[in-house]
Amino acid sequence: MATEQQEHLKIEQLRVHSADELETIAGREKENLEGWIPTLATDAEIREALEKAFDYRGDVTITRKDGSKVEGYLFDRRSGATLADSFVRIIPVADKTKVNVVYADIAAIAFTGRDTAAGKTFEAWVKKYWEKKAAGEKNIQIEPEKLD
């Protein structure tokens, strides 16, 4: 789920208009988080960084305070009253077992994987379609990502 900051376009629209009257709903403003290494100086920064990591559609790398690392897809977070009560849940790159990491144990987090939700806009597809069409190409399509 996106944070309030990330959803501000839609929130601004809803402040002015009733949802029932909206013709077209505002899209989401995308943040470029790929490669980001947030500072984790305060509890608030840790919580915000992990909320963004939960929203991110690429792998992240977490370094624990004991120096061990876990790289994988952060698919869930459970936010408690304190950092010791809160944890993220990760599916590591090379393992299907779900791993829990307590917020209080986290020394660093890096958005190391490619953002799989970035790019590939509908506008880009339309532009590409017409270019290929003009060049006489057939069976024009966006190919799903190769997995191997």
Binding site: E21, T24, G27, D76, R89, A94, W125, Q141, P144, L147
Partner: protein, 379 residues
């Protein structure tokens, strides 16, 4: 009747049992997502954006059966990803049919024809083929030229082989109601049992973030499409949900109506929004803050949602929740209306796309062929 009588009876007795047990929140359809990978990369889809190791993962048949038993719904929908890419899908479907669950296996049908022999026709199994409109509309929607022809070939092959085939059409901003109505004619002519139609949801991970319908436009669009309907059209949506889309009913969201289970677990709160995961169905029901979802909650992510997964369950609950609801629904089934509406007819005749987007332009409202059309820039 758009569904077999046995299915309607099973669903009705299930809902009545829930009511008699006094369950305030009960699920209606399990959305079982056994994998996220797909052989299409649609611009309006927010389901397939994951790293490769996640896209390679899939639920085992045992995990699927456990989820189905935990949840207990009479109907199971299998979206994805593309379920036909799962190597054990025939085993999963056979296991659900053996459990007498009514299965809607959602597919883009690119592989349907070649995989058909792996399945057995049954009253419990329906292939729910995703077709977003006439040829050009569908191909643009799924970002693949030729996708429509393959899907229709799959539909015809499945119908010929004796399978139940239904369809699912998702509409975005720029949809042309006249074209959608022609699309319905084509689907019925191809032999589909019934059709489902719904506005697209504003997935915030979808590559396309500019063509989602607001509520006002959705209601106008669906009023134009579903009023003055042909008697030959069969829909497998609840009649009151169709009226909700047309602006004739007002339903709040029932986010627990169609819970979703995937490789991550039970998705909080619904099929469309991801706000975390529970490890069991019970945990999902007990730990989700349901009051934070639905248009009434003020959650901006729910503001313009009119999707069937949250609202059709509300229509069903209304149907069985009061004598008034029951009588209203019974009337719709016993004396189905074509919803005559002169204003809607006018709307259809005068329909002009609000945004000159290529998806509409390519369709050729004036009868031109695809090859003759030129792109028109948006406003």
């Amino acid at each position: 009747m758009a569904v077999p009588v046995s299915q309607a009876w099973t669903v009705a007795t299930y809902v009545l049992k829930q009511k008699l047990k006094g369950r305030k929140r009960y699920p209606l359809v399990l959305m079982l997502e056994p994998l996220f990978r797909c052989n299409l990369a649609c611009a309006g889809c927010g389901k397939i954006q994951y790293p490769a190791h996640i896209l390679k993962s899939e639920l085992t048949p045992e995990e699927c059966f456990k989820a189905v038993e935990e949840c207990g719904t009479p109907m199971v929908s299998i979206p994805g990803g593309e379920p036909l890419l799962h190597p054990q899908m025939p085993e999963i479907v056979a296991g659900l049919v053996a459990r007498k669950k009514y299965v809607y296996m959602c597919t883009n049908a690119l592989l349907l024809k070649e995989k058909l022999h792996l399945f057995k026709p049954s009253k419990y199994l329906s292939f729910s083929v995703h077709v977003d409109g006439e040829k050009e509309h569908h191909d643009f929607s799924v970002c693949r030229e030729g996708g429509h022809d393959i899907a229709m070939e799959g539909i015809r092959a499945a119908v010929a082989a004796g399978f139940r085939v239904t369809t699912n059409t998702t509409l975005f901003d720029g949809a042309d109601p006249n074209s959608v109505r022609r699309h319905f004619d084509q689907l019925m002519a191809a032999g589909v049992e019934s059709m489902m139609v719904s506005p697209g949801y504003t997935y915030d991970k979808a590559p396309d973030q500019n063509h989602f319908l607001g509520k006002a436009k959705s209601r106008r669009l669906f009023r134009a499409i579903l009023s003055n309907r042909k008697k030959s059209w069969e829909f497998n949506t609840h009649p009151l949900f169709a009226e909700f889309l047309m602006g004739k009913q007002n339903f709040e969201c029932t986010p627990w109506g169609m819970p979703t289970f995937s490789i991550f677990g039970w998705q909080k709160p619904c099929y469309l929004l991801q706000d975390g995961y529970a490890d069991s169905f019970q945990e999902l029901m007990e730990t989700t803050n349901w009051e934070n979802y639905g248009a009434k909650s003020g959650n901006p992510q729910c503001a313009n949602c009119m999707v069937h997964s949250g609202h059709e369950a509300s229509a069903v609950d209304y149907n069985f929740g009061s004598l008034k609801g029951f009588i209203e629904t019974a009337k719709r089934y016993m004396f189905p209306s074509t919803y005559p509406d002169a204003e809607a007819e006018k709307l259809l005749n005068e329909w002009k796309p609000a945004h000159a987007m290529p998806l509409v332009q390519i369709q050729g409202a004036n009868g031109t062929t695809n090859d003759q059309l030129q792109p028109v820039s948006g406003d």
